[in-house]
């Protein structure tokens, strides 16, 4: 994309958000059509639960509608939406882990062993090829063992296909920091995957 095209797109996006802020439903629908898959897919890979990913998508679009006036156009619309999605997904993950910790604590006092919560269900991403589903599930489980920053960098670049620069802008860090996060993410992923290696269990 040339500089002029980039500026035109930013101006169009700012205009679109102005229309949304003024209550234009057609503008909101066109924004939804453009970004719903981006938001849903990012949230789905983060949360690994279709129902919760839809809830996050809802929250993200409600937030966009509410804060449309506040969009300053300094970053691209897509970056702004990625940021909202990531923040909402991280908030949900933290809430879920608090809930799990509480449930485990309650289970310490419970007599019923069956009440123990199985926190690693099979995750079936609808976009993964059928022959890769099992391996992709293992990869997603290993992804959950990374730090929030490493996971975000990995999802943005490897799954959403952003460039290092775009991911850096989304995460509000330098391109070098993104590169180093991805390197560490790859190393840690391999370490985690070693634990999953089937022959090791035998």
């Amino acid at each position: 994309m040339t500089g002029e095209e980039h500026n035109n797109r930013n101006a169009n996006d700012t205009g679109l958000l102005e229309l949304i802020a003024n209550g234009d439903e057609t503008a909101f629908k066109s924004l939804y059509n453009r970004f719903n898959a981006q938001v849903y897919n990012t949230a789905l890979v983060y949360i690994q639960n279709q129902f919760e990913a839809e809830e996050i998508t809802q929250d993200v679009f409600l937030e966009i509608h509410k804060s449309a006036k506040g969009f300053d156009g300094k970053s691209s619309l897509s970056t702004w939406i990625y940021r909202i999605t990531i923040n909402k997904s991280i908030d949900r993950l933290r809430y879920n882990s608090r809930k799990k910790r509480f449930a485990k604590f309650i289970n310490l006092f419970s007599q019923d062993e069956n009440e123990f919560i199985n926190d690693v269900p099979f995750f079936d991403h609808p976009g993964v090829l059928n022959e890769n589903k099992e391996k992709a599930d293992i990869l997603f489980k290993a992804l959950n063992k990374l730090t929030e920053q490493q996971k975000t960098a990995f999802i943005l670049t490897y799954i959403e296909g952003l460039t290092g620069k775009e991911a850096a802008e989304t995460m509000n860090i330098s391109s070098k920091a993104v590169e180093s996060l991805i390197q560490r993410a790859k190393v840690n992923l391999r370490k985690e995957l070693e634990k999953f290696y089937p022959e090791r269990r035998k």
Binding site: N36, H125, P126, A136
Partner: protein, 91 residues
Amino acid sequence: MKKNQWIDEVVSSIKGMKRAKPDSLLYTQIQNKLRTEARTLFIPKFKVGITFAGFIILCLLNLYVIFSSSDKSENIVKTKSTIDFFPQQLY
């Protein structure tokens, strides 16, 4: 060696992965939420002002009643104690 090959296969299992799309009814749900939020959140400023002023007046009236009644009861106690002190003067 086999292990490394397996890890590489796992890492590349997301290659060619397509973006997942949400349920087609999700947009309608978002619109409904926006409408209900708009309905519940919009309260005219003057209504909020009137309610607040009413609440303040009610509080002031309550305070007035409480303090004026406590003054009266103090007066009654004082009069009663004077009568108790000089009971013969009444006859």
